[in-house]
Symmetry: C2
Subunit: 426 residues, 2 copies
Amino acid sequence: MTSTLGGLSTDSPARELVCRGCGARFPLAAQHACFECFGPLEIGYDLDALKRVTRERIAAGPDSIWRYAPLLPVGHDPATRVTLNPGWTPLVRADALAQAIGLRAPLWVKDDSANPTHSFKDRVVSVALTAARALGFTRFACASTGNLANSVAAHSARAGVPSMVFIPADLEPGKILTTAVYGGDVVAVDGSYDDVNRLCSELTEADEFEQTAFVNVNVRPFYAEGSRTLGFEVAEQLGWRLPAQVVIPMASGELLTKIDKAFRELVETGLVAEAPWRVFGAQSAGCNPIATALHADTDQIVPVKPTGIAKSLNIGDPAAGLYALEAVRRTGGWMDYADDDEIRDAIRLLARTTGVFAETAGGVTVAVLRKLVASGHLDPDAETVVFNTGEGLKTIDAVAHLVGPTFRVRPSLRAAREAGLFRESL
Amino acid sequence: MTSTLGGLSTDSPARELVCRGCGARFPLAAQHACFECFGPLEIGYDLDALKRVTRERIAAGPDSIWRYAPLLPVGHDPATRVTLNPGWTPLVRADALAQAIGLRAPLWVKDDSANPTHSFKDRVVSVALTAARALGFTRFACASTGNLANSVAAHSARAGVPSMVFIPADLEPGKILTTAVYGGDVVAVDGSYDDVNRLCSELTEADEFEQTAFVNVNVRPFYAEGSRTLGFEVAEQLGWRLPAQVVIPMASGELLTKIDKAFRELVETGLVAEAPWRVFGAQSAGCNPIATALHADTDQIVPVKPTGIAKSLNIGDPAAGLYALEAVRRTGGWMDYADDDEIRDAIRLLARTTGVFAETAGGVTVAVLRKLVASGHLDPDAETVVFNTGEGLKTIDAVAHLVGPTFRVRPSLRAAREAGLFRESL
């Protein structure tokens, strides 16, 4: 299925697909790889159309990603949206966390666990499925490490469209169940995410899947654009300016590249004043191929077999790794990785200092933030935004053995006193 | 500790505490029971001050409960708020759910799982703790069936204030852990919620707890006011009008009475046009003392020992039961209750038709909605709002045995075909 986006609104600033490898250009369609060089494609915009977008127009929009519709390829007419209306999530000032890790400048947590299915994936899925419906697809699908599956299944339920999501069979039970409860098909694959992804790529070629949009395969260029809204939101929430430093988790690496792209676009369009920013990437020690390449000062990203508790980041062969390296090098940032104990500590540190309970991916990012301050790669005197992309309730096993009741008592004053509750009193 | 609210902003429309039993009036303070008749107290407002509040002023406020600050007793100066900024949660149009249960008029799901700790409790906790800090308390506490504990612990972490929350020891592990992760004290009590609540009432009298605000005990009048924001939001999201019918879960019964109160206030202040509304209450079969009293046409609410999976509603001796009965009778509504299997079915029905994954309390409410339509108590031709007050991820065990992967395959096209995936194709 390669029909072009006939239904694309004339309000859309999107004009074409552009190869990130060779620069070849193609019509807007359900195409994700370059016919010339097999490189990945991304959306090309009419810069003049983007430049006509004003802060006022955005501020007058809804409290969701759709306030940025004028900067997105699809969804300009609200009736065309396939969406749970994600986005416009809290930017939380984190003074106590900053103090705990030695940051002196303002630190903010962009908390995307506040999205409808509690991860940043709702952003990309809303854009991808809105494009998919405009392109004529009649079933929605994805390859997922969990959060994406949750989001595709929930979006499909809301839209009344059949779905089929593919996940590694060893995912956290919380993520399997919260996908299956929405009633679509859930395919557990005996293999890694990379195996799941390969299977989905093959299925897109099968006749029986011609009408099926795999959000992160055959409509991937649209999918990836949704992540830009995270960058737009941070800038708007800071009063239309860019933070000096951002720390972003990496799975495929795409999120990092799209937040960086959003910042560039905000400068190009004049929505924010030009100012330098530095991009930092976070991986887990169990899956660190991009960070390893950076540390080795090479473009050779060697695929790994992922291990460890940060399953939502466990992509061993990261599709956008090269572009993530480019963004980090260009902006003067850095990458690092954290092991499982550091991840668990960081989840608890974040919760205790901010009231935000992050999934393991958020633990990775805060743990790496901490390391970057300690190693001097991150400037402790420059304003920093750290991204929490998911919800602690989905990866509860990561910390279940570390926290619990601090007292257990029978329901009487005497029992409470004997248990030591009164000694704890202020 | 009975200091009056010396720090109360002159912007506050709150004037006094009024006994819901005998009408006696007291200064605004940390007092929850009438000195005359021991009846419960609630906030009394200056109606003229409320009438000066305009739709425009509210709409110009933040995307949280604090847009209604002019209608709340505390929090007028943003710097005084102890808050995760809850509220302004989605009102989801639910056509497919309406069709599934035989409703012909518009049906909406007010989805309060979108709050920061994923239940409506964030609303009441933000108001209670903002009052508590203004009243000089230095530690925050509560008796909780789970969601309230999550919220108090997270709010306290954000505010940097010590907390001590009290829960029944047999709570869902998800709710214990997501309280403990924020680092405050968690006291597991071997007993029912009613036992926990009694213990907390006794502790408020102990010298060692003089500086401790129990949000739903000694600052309860402020706490309860936060629920009104749910009623305000529904009306504003409907374009400043009241829905004809609302279906609300009942634990203490307080939420129902406060949504009803919010509707009355909106009419009295002229913020919405006068129109009749009917209030319906939902309980579980394992804890149905209020509905049982209604069905028996009596005001005698006989306490029960709660059972069943809807633990967040398991209050066997409901403090506001009498007032809930009054609201339902006055408005021509009704109450009903659902058993555990009906609750599980309703959780799945809601998820499949709306993309909203509710905790057991939401299952109770949707199951009762369904029964009320079937029994003819609810008018299928009148616009209806059903309230989901919590998040499915917290009560995952309720449906874990009912849903799961629909296919399990090895990562190859051939395995996918043999497993029947291609037959599922569209």
